[in-house]
């Protein structure tokens, strides 16, 4: 009897020992896990996954997603027969394909079975499977846990994988599509304007505006648009600094379907452009392109042009080289202008009969400057400077021509044309940036003038070009050099042929008028330091006061005497600008506006 008792005691003793061991073990576990684990990964119990530096991992399994892969949803197999506890996981990818992922560790003897027996692996979801809906993950995110919920993180990873380069291409594509719906002429980009101008030049050429027409924008419209009211171009050709003018103008265009919203949107672009460039130079051209645009009829630039334009819009600072510029058209235009200029120049130069041909004066300023500009397209393929001529309105071209003619006349009268004067224009021709040099020359020449109109006429050629790199001092230096040379030549000429100076006195109206203008110009051009010799040596008086179309000699003689007396009396007085009260100046003011509208009579 003691045996069973002993056995029971033994049993009890063993049970107590087991219990003690168990208690000791539990105490150890409590001590081991009784502190916070701050960097511990969080396991989503819905999917039993947690994020690791390598990627998404199944708890107790292997890596299921590295970086940004397709989203994988893990569904638990609740009770699938004998494989309930085998760790088999039914995995659904984003595309809905079913697959089975072995989630067991490599050393696990209980490897996951492919599928429960009797189940079709290809079936999307067995009926008894309890799938975890995706909307569970947001609820999990509602917790304060910092772990990535699989679906949410995978989506975020997918989004984060998009780079700017991908977005850029898509943006360009979408913008091109957007622009295709809107009239492309609204967006006033230089690239677009230049590129579109060439295609529309054929239509424009049909409309040859007469020289007397001051506003080239109206003239450059297509023939169909020509009957449009002339007041609008004139209104437009005013200071078109404000884009509202464009809106107002374009509304009245029958052929244009421009939305105000798009214009307003483009206004921002135009203002942006204006900030970088000069406004006036941009807007007139813009306007010309707009007015000449017949968006319903004119062939639009193709997709590549739009993309170029978009690229320019996106990076307006970038200088976009014109990819396509029909050389023939630009060359034709230049040739045309050159021919007309030569013709006019010859007309005025040869009429006195004693002036040498402009061709014989290689150093002629006007010719060389003009030719230097006309030669530009060949040398400026990669620049935007040659675009000055393309959208250049006829009125402006006319003004420019007149200015150059006057300059040429000055050179002819002063006997210029020394080789010294040549290098600069030739240098302009040769240098790849000769247009810039030319523009600088012209700007240097007329820099002191406040003739806004003339500057407007000239400035498109300058400002459309690449932003000036040369400092302003270079232009001034150049201007001074030219001034000095001119003075020297003029002195020489006046000394050698004083009689020749009187010949222009008998010129008809145009020459006299031009000479009067020249007088004004020279006064303005060559400052105080040279005014003494200028007015002493130069006999401007016969040409000075040809106010009426007839230009009576008596009137000529009288002012000549007066001016000669004034010159001898007080060089300083003559060096100053003539006042408006001065009869000579007032006589000049009565000149026809067509000739000198751009050259105001200064006080």
């Amino acid at each position: 009897m003691e045996g069973p008792g002993l056995e029971e005691d033994a049993l009890l003793q063993k049970l107590r020992n087991s219990r003690r061991r168990f208690q000791r073990r539990m105490q150890q576990l409590i001590e081991k896990y009784n502190h916070p684990f701050e960097d511990d990964p969080l396991v989503d119990l819905a999917t039993l996954t947690y994020q690791t530096p390598q990627g998404l991992k199944i708890w107790g399994g292997k890596l299921i997603k590295e970086g940004s892969e397709g989203l994988i949803q893990v569904f638990n197999v609740s009770a699938c027969g004998p494989s309930a506890l085998r760790g088999g996981v039914l995995v659904l990818t984003r595309t809905g394909c079913c697959g089975h992922v072995s989630t067991e560790s490599p050393g696990d003897p209980a490897e996951s079975t492919p599928f429960p027996r009797g189940q079709d692996p290809s079936c999307p979801c067995p009926a008894h499977l309890a799938t975890a809906p995706r909307n569970d993950s947001p609820s999990l995110l509602g917790t304060s846990s910092s772990s990535c919920v699989s679906s949410r993180t995978l989506e975020a990873d997918d989004i984060c994988d998009v780079t700017i380069s991908d977005l850029y291409a898509g943006m360009l594509h979408s913008m091109s599509q957007l622009l295709s719906r809107k009239p492309s002429g609204i967006i006033s980009t230089k690239t677009f304007i230049v590129q579109s101008w060439s295609s529309r030049r054929r239509h424009v050429r049909r409309v040859r505006a007469p020289m007397s027409q001051p506003h080239g924008a109206g003239a450059r419209r297509s023939g169909r648009e020509r009957p449009a009211p002339c007041s609008e171009p004139r209104r437009e050709m005013g200071p078109l600094r404000d884009c509202e003018n464009l809106v107002h103008v374009t509304r009245h265009k029958p052929g244009l379907k421009l939305d105000k919203a798009s214009l307003a949107g483009d206004k921002a672009q135009m203002l942006k452009l204006d900030s970088g460039c000069q406004e006036l130079q941009v807007t007139p051209r813009k306007h010309s392109s707009l007015t000449s645009l017949d968006l319903d009829r004119v062939h639009r630039p193709d997709q590549e042009n739009r993309l170029m334009m978009l690229k320019w819009l996106i990076s307006p600072v970038k200088i976009v080289s014109r990819p396509r510029m029909p050389p023939i058209q630009s060359g034709n235009r230049y040739r045309e202008i050159e021919v007309r200029f030569n013709k006019l120049h010859q007309e005025f130069c040869l009429s006195p009969g004693k002036r040498s041909c402009p061709d014989g004066l290689p150093g002629s300023w006007a010719m060389d400057l003009y030719r230097g500009g006309s030669v530009s397209p060949g040398g400026l393929r990669g620049l935007e400077t040659h675009r000055w001529s393309l959208p250049f309105s006829k009125a402006k071209a006319k003004r420019l021509r007149e200015a150059f003619e006057n300059l040429g006349r000055i050179s002819v009268e002063g006997g210029r044309g020394t080789p010294e004067g040549q290098p600069s224009p030739s240098h302009l021709k040769d240098s790849p940036s000769h247009s810039r040099g030319r523009s600088w020359q012209t700007s240097g020449l007329f820099q002191e003038h406040n003739s806004g109109t003339f500057r407007k006429a000239l400035s498109p050629s300058q400002t459309i070009s690449v932003p000036r790199i040369e400092p302003l001092g270079c232009g001034r230096n150049r201007y001074n050099e030219i001034k000095e040379k001119f003075d020297q030549l003029h002195q020489k000429y006046c000394q050698t042929s004083p009689q020749r100076a009187k010949a222009p006195a008998h010129l008809g109206m145009p020459s006299g008028k031009a000479s009067a203008e020249v007088q004004l110009q020279t006064q303005e051009l060559f400052g105080k330091s040279h005014r003494n010799c200028l007015f002493q040596k130069w006999p401007p008086s016969p040409q000075w006061h040809v106010c009426g179309p007839q230009g009576s000699p008596a009137a000529e003689a009288h002012p000549s005497a007066r001016s000669a007396h004034a010159a001898g009396r007080d060089p300083q007085f003559l060096a100053k600008r003539r006042r408006l009260s001065d009869p000579q100046v007032s006589a000049c003011s009565c000149l026809s506006p067509a000739g000198v509208s751009w050259w105001p009579c200064l006080p």
Binding site: V43, G60, A79
Partner: protein
């Protein structure tokens, strides 16, 4: 848990000791496989008693708190809220559970040995649970 002291025989003995190999018995061919199986079990037991790693698969154990199982554990402790659990939490639970199971199986096997069996029956486990319940001093 540290390595357990062997307070019990290594392997349950089904019957009398095997006859010496000098006397070949009938079914010696069967004996050798049985001996081999016994040896395999012994080795496995020794190996498991020496190791300290978790014996239940982590994924299998963690599925006890997943929706498929009704979220018993999760819902019980989180009052219906779905939380993300820390990995150490799951490990702690698993270790505690394994320790308890080991203790339970030990007690059940003692009871089965008490009655002279070498096979663990469910009634042994039930008896052990009754004896080792909280009311009986488990805590």
């Amino acid at each position: 848990m540290g390595p357990r002291r062997r307070s019990q025989p290594e392997a349950p003995r089904r019957g009398p000791a095997s006859p010496p190999p000098s006397t070949p018995r009938r079914g010696a061919s069967l004996g050798s496989p049985s001996q081999r199986r016994r040896n395999v079990w012994l080795k496995q037991v020794k190996m498991l008693q020496k190791s300290t790693d978790l014996l239940i698969r982590k994924r299998s154990f963690s599925r006890l708190g997943t929706p498929s199982s009704g979220r018993e554990i999760c819902m019980k402790f989180t009052r219906g809220m779905d939380f993300n659990w820390q990995a150490q939490t799951l490990l702690a639970l698993q270790e505690a559970a394994e320790a308890y199971l080991v203790h339970l199986f030990e007690d059940a096997y003692l009871l089965s040995l008490r009655v002279g069996r070498g096979t663990l029956f469910p009634m042994d486990v039930q008896l052990a649970r009754r004896i080792c319940s909280i009311e009986e001093g488990l805590g």
